[in-house]
């Protein structure tokens, strides 16, 4: 300006302008349409902050687009010198270290009620089969040659519809795709009510959707609810130790809220604690989306493949219930299998709405919450398996 200092206009590209619009669009979706507002609003503002050139909140290595400079001396000196920005620090100490996704999972565990899954243990099988989309999309992503094997597992895990495992795996295996993968994962979770019904109607008959299930599930005694997280940690940890950071945090959070003597800790973990971490996650993920990193064909492919992942995840859950019904005397409504794609509680709500459309007497929400919650554990197990295999 008047030769005194540099304005941002000179460095502004068409890509930056497009990203500013995308950032604004995300904030609009969060505020006006109430789509995952806790995440889309911080992600949107992060996108805007990082696409105004020369602002210095998130500095990328000039020679290698997408590479984020490390704070070499704890960060404060580099921030003062303009070598890195505040968001570089948040990325490295929050996301790069995996601290934020794991602690968010602790908070989610504290907020979760696993009683519907405990009262119908078959829910865990439906939660597992609903991971089908993860593996189908992994295959497509890798075999088409569009993605490396590390990237392909991260694209696939979007189908698990669970944020923290997706972020956790992507930070470890393909951090260069963290921005688009996280954005697509959270956006599509909000779009579950749009994505799932066509698949459900395609794969089930009206007669199946009409299957009546008694509204109440078994009441789970408190001792059983205390033993549950410990049992999950031991079983999942022994079979897939690499999933324990995720499963362990989820179950620890849950234990805090069910013991009856650590209520304050559980309330804290599921309250301001998880809120702070959530907006830090959103802001940091948004800052990973400067135009030079985000606008490429891989992002478009991720957007397309995620739809396939959700469709096959929904199908996997439905098919498992249909197979189970061949052997069960008291039939299960296949809609509750569709809720095996985590997306808590949206997928369970979809089962409830579609179930009531087919049979107004049906009240499937609590039944659907079982596979829904089991899906969160299943996605964490899948993330652990990918961590140790690839």
């Amino acid at each position: 300006m008047f030769g005194l200092y540099e304005m941002a206009f000179g460095g502004l590209t068409w890509g930056n302008i497009l990203m500013l619009l995308i950032g604004g669009g995300l904030i609009y979706l969060g505020v006006a349409k109430k789509m995952e507002p806790f995440l889309l609003v911080p992600i949107g503002i992060g996108v805007i902050l990082v696409n105004i050139p020369s602002a210095g909140l998130m500095v990328y290595a000039p020679a290698e687009p997408g590479v984020i400079p490390l704070p070499a001396s704890g960060g404060l000196k580099e921030i003062a010198e303009g070598k890195i920005g505040l968001l570089n620090l948040l990325y490295h100490y929050g996301l790069g270290s995996e601290v934020i996704p794991l602690l968010i999972f602790l908070g989610i565990g504290a907020l979760s009620d696993f009683s519907p899954a405990i009262s119908r243990p078959l829910s865990f099988v439906f939660g597992a089969t609903a991971q089908l989309g993860v593996f189908i999309v992994f295959l497509i992503a890798y075999l088409t040659g569009w993605f490396t094997i590390n990237e392909a597992v991260c694209v696939g895990i979007i189908g698990g519809s669970d944020g923290p495992p997706t972020v956790y795996l992507t930070v470890a295996k393909a951090p260069q795709l963290l921005g688009p993968i996280t954005l697509v994962a959270y956006s599509y979770m909000a779009l579950v009510p749009v994505l799932q019904p066509p698949v459900i109607r395609l794969l089930t008959t009206k007669k199946e959707r009409q299957i009546y299930m008694k509204p109440q599930t078994r009441e789970v005694p408190s001792l059983e609810r205390i033993i549950f997280p410990i049992a999950v940690i031991v079983v999942a940890g022994l079979f897939v130790p690499a999933c324990l950071p995720l499963v362990g945090m989820l179950m620890f959070g849950n234990l805090l809220s069910v013991t009856g003597v650590t209520d304050r800790l559980g309330t804290s973990a599921g309250g301001v604690f998880v809120d702070v971490l959530t907006f830090l996650l959103g802001l940091t993920v948004g800052s990973l989306m400067p135009a030079m990193v985000f606008l490429n064909t891989k992002t478009l492919m991720i957007i397309g493949l995620a739809v396939v992942a959700f469709a096959f995840g929904t199908a996997g859950g439905i098919w498992a219930v249909q197979i189970a019904n061949l052997f069960l005397k008291e039939k299960i409504n296949p809609l509750i299998g569709a809720a095996g794609v985590s997306a808590v509680p949206m997928a369970a709500r979809v089962a409830q709405i579609e179930g009531q459309k087919a049979n107004p007497r049906n009240f499937l929400l609590m039944h659907a919450m079982g596979p829904n919650m089991a899906g969160a554990i299943a996605t964490s197990v899948v993330a652990g398996i990918f961590m140790s295999m690839v």
Binding site: P121, F138, L139, V382
Partner: protein
């Protein structure tokens, strides 16, 4: 070049392992519930 062995291991083995772990988990949870229900029922029967 595609490493078919790794693909089969990751996709087939991965999905199979997930299913296996969750099936075991469902059995363990069912067993715990079964024991709990018996434990709760017993004192009632005795009275």
């Amino acid at each position: 070049m595609i490493d078919w062995g790794l693909v089969a291991k990751t996709a087939g083995g991965g999905f199979g392992s997930t299913l296996l772990v969750l099936v075991i988990l469902s059995i363990v949870i069912w067993l715990i519930g079964f024991v709990m229900r018996r434990r709760v029922r017993k004192p009632k029967d005795e009275s």
